[in-house]
């Protein structure tokens, strides 16, 4: 709880500073756009968080975004498939990639970093090949306007991706913090051996995390594709897995596994988006975008570490 609190305080302070320095931060348009982005990023960050809690990692998320974006465009625009069929296909394909990852990691016993690093390269290449390196889009989305409005629309002024995130977060919170599966996830992340000695099928639990991550990646990926409406297969989704991992870590997930919370991941996601927003609103050159984010994350992590060392020292004496 304390870990989330630190990030939350940082988030609030940043928001207040930003609102004072540039009042347009709190304008309706800006807040709406911010909420929309938090919605999209939050969904796949939760997926990555689940994987991080098992002590694993998924580096392929960004490339999967490119691949599924390209496929979605082909299905809808070129093949003119019904929206529901196209969406189900994309979700199905992406989720099966998660099953494949889970299989390689738990049965073939390859390190998650390696498996998903290969995925990062492979799916990016595949996306470019499938799209013949052409930028894909949805044009005016004629015939699947409802689907597009899931990404670009709003209900009562609240962007739909944000609403979807809230719904997913509630489900994910129950799964992670109240269900048997969630308990197993933490147990396996903390100590896989002891979990196995307690009769937990740790392979299924770990693979399950990768499948859930892929499922959430597919939902976020569909929203992202419509949000950008322009999928350049060589750059679409670049680095997005790192945003997700950063959000999870800022929110208290430990890369060693066994620690983390949905609330934390959401706060971490929001913090990253507010930082992006800060760069834009304060007129910082956008080339410094990554530098600002890296610096703030580092400061946050260092402050957290120092605080913890001080606490440990207090307990020891």
């Amino acid at each position: 709880m304390r870990k989330e609190l630190g990030t939350f305080v940082l988030l609030v302070v940043l928001c207040i500073v930003l609102a004072i320095m540039n009042p347009s931060f709190v304008s309706g348009v800006n807040l709406q756009n911010l909420a929309r982005l938090i919605g999209i990023y939050g969904i796949f960050s939760i997926g990555l968080g689940l994987v991080v809690i098992t002590g694993g990692i998924d580096l392929s998320v960004g490339s999967v975004f490119a691949l599924l974006g390209v496929l979605l465009s082909i299905f809808l625009v070129e093949w003119q498939l019904p929206a529901a069929v196209a969406v189900l296909l994309v979700i199905g394909i992406t989720t099966s990639l998660g099953v494949f990852n889970g299989f390689l990691i738990t049965k073939v016993k390859i390190q998650p970093f390696i498996v998903t690093l290969c995925g990062l390269l492979f799916y990016r290449g595949l996306a470019r090949f499938v799209a013949s390196d052409e930028t894909k889009g949805f044009g005016a989305a004629s015939g699947f306007e409802t689907l597009q409005s899931m990404a670009t629309g709003s209900v009562a002024g609240i962007p739909t991706p944000f609403i979807i995130l809230v719904a997913i977060s509630i489900v994910a919170w129950v799964v992670l913090h109240r269900s048997i599966f969630g308990r197993y996830l933490f147990a396996v992340g903390r100590n896989e051996t002891a979990a196995r000695y307690s009769g937990i099928n740790s392979d299924i639990v770990v693979a399950g995390a990768y499948v859930l991550c892929a499922l959430l990646t597919s939902i976020a990926g569909i929203l992202l594709a419509f949000y950008t409406n322009s999928i350049s297969p060589s750059s679409h989704g670049n680095f997005y897995e790192l945003y997700g991992i950063a959000a999870a870590v800022l929110g208290g997930c430990s890369l060693r596994g066994g620690e983390g919370s949905i609330i934390g991941i959401l706060i971490g996601t929001a913090l990253l988006q507010v930082l992006q927003n800060l760069v834009n609103l304060l007129g910082i050159p956008s080339s410094l975008n990554f530098a600002v984010m890296g610096a703030v994350i580092l400061i946050g992590v260092v402050a957290d570490q120092l605080l913890r060392q001080r606490q440990a020292a207090r307990i020891a004496t």
Partner: protein, 496 residues
Amino acid sequence: MANPLLEMKGIGKRFPGVIALDRVDFAIGPGEVVALAGENGAGKSTLMKILGGVYQPDDGQIFVDGKKVAIKSVSDASVHGIGFVHQELNVLVNLTAAENVYLGREPLKFGFLVDRAKLNADAEVYLKRLGLNISGKTRLSELSIAQQQMVELAKALSLNARILIMDEPTSSLTLTETERLLAVIKDLREHGVSIIYISHRLAEIKEIADRVVVLRDGKNAGVLEHDEINHDAIVKLMVGRDIERTNRGQNADGDSETIAVNDLRTRRYPKRSVSFDVRKGEILGFAGLVGAGRSDAAQAIFGVDTPLSGSVNIDGKNVKITSATDAIRNGIFLIPEDRRNSGLILDIPIRENVTLPALRRYSSAGLVNKTAETVKAKEMCQRLNVKAPSVESKAANLSGGNQQKVVLAKWLSLEPKLLIFDEPTRGIDVGAKSEIYQLMRDLAASGVAIVMISSDMEEVLGESDRVAVMHEGAITGILDRADANEEAVMRLAVGH
């Protein structure tokens, strides 16, 4: 003592909420072996960590050669000739023996290159003195735990240690290795090295110690001179009360066979197979040297390790076990040797550890009911007399004995048919030990079949109804209680 080499006077140390040491005195003369005994939490480790420079005392003084000294760090300790061989060895298994001995102070040539010839030659002198005839170039990963320990001892000697602190040095050694270590200790004593020997094994203390200093609750509880050392006297000082020490009688029901294991082969010994049966209400001891394949068999029966072949029958019915989940469903439970890694998840509360194997029982519709969990965990902690502030305390914060009880609580909350204990009392203090024995007997009396793997001869002989002895992957004999004695067991354990 006229001229003690080392004297600690009135040592006090407080941690938040506990007084770890309260005016403790300790002294050792040159060439003496002094055993330090006490239950877990009595303050032995704290006292030795102060001597080793790991902790700073709040009160008291330390004298070496009659001169007051301040030991502010581990390097201060080694300047005063104090060497520490920790229970968990501090060695790097990817380096060679000689590199370990001289780690951080390698002899150099030309001022920057390691002089490997000198390094190996110098290290071998110390290794040989400890009876370890290996080349300095041997990688530690190729050595047994006992040999690695000798390397660590060699390191302490090479630092000219005059006072050696040994913390539970025999806890992971076999009987023969223990004997060899005790011989080395005696030899070091002849050469004037003083040794502070921490151990739970009273037989060893009796064999080598000139004196035993007993601590209880952070205070001096008493000192026994060599002639006064005996089991009951030490235990009485350690726990401050008499412990009932009963040897159990045969209570196994003659013919009610419950569990039969047939032709079990494990990956470690693919050419040997293990067959045995355990009756309801029986404690079947498993003796043997470390590495005889006892734990491998246990892990295969429990399903955490896949056996190459073999079958398990319960009440004549063949049960298929390919994972721990299967074993647990059939009432076969393992209390593993390595409780901190395999038995428990240390960073989670007692409650979550206890309910982990049968979480479904405390859940509805896939959601965990924390209240039901808490009720069960409290009930189990009370039944097993787990000493913890609450069931929400992390397992990491418990003593070894209480951790073992939590592992037991995981299984006793279900309905065990066969309980396999692997080294049930290793590193556990005397008080908790006798509680665990009592629990085992009660379980047996209630009709549970028990397999107890133990390298502690006293335990195997004292607690078992029958003793199976293993050697290199096979059972070399099963002795009835009447025939089981130390000599018979050892003969089978070495394969005769």
